[in-house]
């Protein structure tokens, strides 16, 4: 059996690059343990990319057994070969070899959850009918034993057309070696014999084969089956031949005969599940269910109220973790970047290069990796919730409440986590299967008050909102709370409006298989986590870094020699009259003023002056405008820019900056920071999308520039309008 591999890959000729003997597609229902099995088979050799044009992930890896190597393609989980979602469309397209850039699989590894054999058998029938060699991995064989399920494996193998069946435990790896050893021979085996699940369909295919078959129009039998059931051609994105026009009439008459007035999917389901029930009755025996204490506990905890308490507790822990546990790491990164910047300044002479390395490169890298603690922590929780099966439970619990705001149960975790940071939360929207719901959630996420808004809020509230007590409420606290509410209102309203306009459509089916509780596999969790980080660094990280460097350049160029000459002269003069600590203070003041003057005549400062007319109706002078522009790539830099622009230094403490802001005036002497102006500015911050990282991630997750551009323009207009109204009405 394994002879072919030995012949084509003699030991002496195996060089650095070993060619794979063939490609095997790994197919199975969602949550059947397919990914764990894939991880076990391929280990670190796997790589993840995206299928061209869609956000569906493409995972490939190599399994090496003895001297044979085979490439495995892990397909998205699917219940049938009738594509309902984008994931399923891709799975089907790959199986038929219609997805550009992905080889057509030579054989199929069908992964079937032994505790859910019923649904597995539906897909297996369709896979066997592909007419390619098939091997079946029966996963969760330990859980089946525990539940008192006995499966007659030889009988099952026979009923499926004599395909090899291997019981495995994907999480521990039991039985995986034997399965892998079958791969070499698999590529040489004959396709399984036909199974008589639905003979009428097979006869219909026989009829159409002369017109559509491989020799005529280039379709395989299984593909002709899909034509009959679905009555439509494969999507244009796939490289498939077109249906010849002369085949249309015979196809219609076959469909008419098979289905009559009934929906074809319904007929197919009835036919195939009737067969599945017959097989199940023959191969599966259930011993009287042992009443286990853990099963009783799980049943109780899934009741609405205990489940609600558990949900609130879980969310509190996740929220706390993303917010608080990440902080020390973020501070550490911040400090590390600061130290690296200072070290550069010490080594390199003052000037362009030092500023480029310290404020451009190092700060740019810092602005990317600062997100990693939050991403790692949030995704650790999400992956754990996914792999234990809890995510589906949580969605079940809150579905009704989330539907009232136009979203679905699966949106709850991404939305809650966006209170910490929208970047990991938008990445987490992958758990939402419905595309419209997913986009609506992505659009609502940036409205939630993220941790980067807090420094701006804290500065402005502390400086301009009087700390007055009303009963038990402090006015400052109430304003902060109000800003959170404004964010939530903006997000919910956006989701509702979108779901009633651009994202209108039939209510998503919410077909949700609720997986049994199970312990996660640490290896799988670690691999998934690593994957998220890699994707973030590669896809979003580059954009964030480039934007950070651009902002540095805008704030640095053009350099004014006059300002620099003034600074040198002022320092020299100070050195004559002052000494000791006084001199240090004077130097600092001179440097801060020079930095402010540099910034004022930089492109950024000029942009602030240039757009001042646009923002003047909001009560902002050019300094505030420049700080806001600088904050578009990352809102948290606003505090530092205000510090520089008001000549108290970028690292100034909040109190001295607040004091300086309070005394800022327009050229005619009016105060800049009036209460209506500050309130408007706060609401602007609550609603405006000032975060390049969020835009980069929206781009990456929606796979188009349309949504990030829309989100940015929409939120900017919304923030501007709100600030305008508040200032104008408040100042009237």
């Amino acid at each position: 059996m394994a002879s072919r591999a030995e012949v084509t890959l003699p030991a002496g000729r195996i060089g650095v690059v070993r060619r794979a003997a063939g490609t095997i597609a790994v197919v199975g229902n969602p949550n059947c343990g397919k990914s764990s099995l894939f991880n076990h088979l391929t280990g670190m050799s796997q790589r993840t990319a995206n299928y061209p044009g869609v956000t569906v992930e493409r995972r490939m890896g190599r399994a090496t057994v003895g001297e044979t190597a085979v490439d495995l393609i892990d397909l998205p989980g699917t219940y049938s070969l009738s594509p309902g979602s984008m994931d399923e469309r891709i799975a089907v397209g790959v199986l038929f070899g219609r997805v550009p850039g992905t080889p057509k699989p030579d054989a199929i590894l069908a992964v079937v959850d032994s505790t859910r054999l019923y649904q597995g058998l539906f897909l297996v029938q369709q896979l066997v009918e592909l007419g390619r060699p098939v091997v079946i991995a029966l996963t969760m064989s330990d859980a089946a034993e525990r539940d008192g399920l006995k499966i007659d494996i030889p009988r099952l193998a026979h009923l499926l057309g004599d395909v090899p069946v291997f019981p495995v435990v994907a999480t521990t790896g039991r039985g995986v070696k034997k399965l892998a050893e079958s791969f070499a021979g698999l590529l040489d085996t004959k396709p399984p014999g036909s199974i008589s699940a639905w003979p009428e369909l097979q006869r219909a295919v026989d009829e159409l084969e002369p017109m559509l078959g491989p020799k005529a129009a280039g379709f395989e039998r299984a593909e002709i089956e899909r034509f009959i059931v679905e009555g439509e051609t494969v999507p244009e994105t796939f490289s498939a031949p077109v249906l010849p026009p002369e085949a249309e009439a015979p196809l219609e008459s076959v469909r008419e005969r098979l289905f009559g007035d009934e929906p074809p999917f319904a007929v197919e389901a009835r036919q195939r599940y009737r067969w599945a029930r017959e097989v199940l009755a023959e191969v599966q025996t259930t011993s009287s269910v042992v009443s286990r204490r853990s099963a009783a506990l799980i049943h109780w905890i899934n009741q609405p109220w205990p489940s609600t308490v558990l949900f609130v507790l879980t969310m509190a822990v996740v929220f706390q973790a993303v917010f608080a546990w990440a902080t020390p790491f973020m501070d550490l990164i911040d400090a590390g970047m600061g130290a690296a910047g200072a070290a550069t300044a010490a080594i390199l002479p003052d000037g362009l290069l030092a500023s480029f390395v310290a404020d451009g490169i190092i700060a740019g890298v810092g602005s990317v990796i600062i997100f990693l603690p939050q991403i790692l922590i949030l995704f650790l929780f999400i992956i754990l919730m996914e792999d234990t099966g809890y995510l589906a439970r949580a969605a079940f619990l809150v579905d009704r409440a989330m539907r009232s705001i136009g979203l679905s149960g699966q949106s709850v975790i991404p939305l809650l986590s966006s209170f910490a940071c929208a970047v990991p939360s938008i990445m987490a929207t992958r758990v939402i299967p419905n595309r419209r719901d997913r986009i609506a959630t992505i659009m609502a996420s940036p409205f939630m008050t993220c941790s980067a808004r807090l420094p701006v809020y804290a500065l402005l509230i502390a400086a301009f909102v009087p700390s007055r007590e009303f009963l038990i409420f402090n006015l400052q606290g109430a304003v902060l709370f109000g800003l959170y509410v404004i964010g939530i209102v903006g997000g919910v309203a956006t989701a509702l409006v979108l779901k009633h306009s651009a994202l209108r459509g039939a209510a998503p089916p919410f077909i949700l298989a609720l997986p049994e509780f199970r312990l996660p596999n640490l290896r799988t969790v670690a691999l998934k986590l690593l994957d998220r980080v890699r994707i973030f660094l590669r896809r979003a990280g580059t954009v964030i870094f480039v934007v950070a460097v651009i902002v540095w350049a805008l704030a640095y160029f053009p350099r004014s020699d006059a300002v620099e000459a003034d600074r040198v002269a002022a320092r020299a003069q100070a050195a004559v009259t002052l000494e000791g600590a006084e001199l240090e203070t004077a130097f600092e003041t001179i440097d801060n003023e020079a930095a402010a003057a540099h910034l004022a005549q930089s492109w950024l400062g000029r942009a602030g002056q240039w757009v001042e007319p646009v923002f003047e109706p909001l009560g902002w002078d050019w300094r505030v405008s420049a700080a806001v522009i600088a904050g578009f790539p990352a809102r948290e830099v606003v505090v530092a820019v205000l510090g520089t622009i008001y000549a108290v230094g970028g690292e100034a403490d909040e109190a001295s900056l607040a004091e300086r802001l309070t005394s800022a005036t327009w050229p005619d002497g009016r105060t800049v920071f009036t209460l209506p102006m500050v309130l408007g500015l706060l609401v602007f911050y609550a609603w405006c999308l000032q975060c390049a990282a969020t835009l980069a991630v929206i781009r990456r997750e929606t796979n188009s520039w349309r949504w990030p551009v829309f989100a940015w323009a929409y939120m900017t207009v919304l923030g501007y309008t709100a600030a305008l109204l508040i200032y104008q009405i408040g100042s009237a």
């Binding site: 219940y79 309902g84 319904a266 079940f396 049994e516």
Partner: protein, 70 residues
């Protein structure tokens, strides 16, 4: 309980049939979420969550074994 008839006109119901909710299949009701929606059923070892309006497309009859655990 056992499914006796399915109103299969709705595409969502057709998707549910692909999950095995077809005539003659035995299912059991497990629980409802807050406010009675969505509902959770078990079909041959798989727990499936359905919204109430979709569940109403399935006509079921009681079996003697109903009410037993699982």
């Amino acid at each position: 309980m056992r499914i006796d008839a399915v109103d299969s006109s709705d595409p969502v119901v057709q998707r549910l049939m692909v999950l095995g909710l077809v005539e003659q299949a035995e299912i059991s009701f497990l629980r409802a979420s807050h406010g009675g929606d969505p509902l959770e059923f078990r079909i041959f070892g798989t727990a499936i969550s359905l919204r109430r309006d979709h569940a109403s497309r399935f006509a079921v009859s009681r079996l003697a074994t109903d009410g037993e655990p699982r």
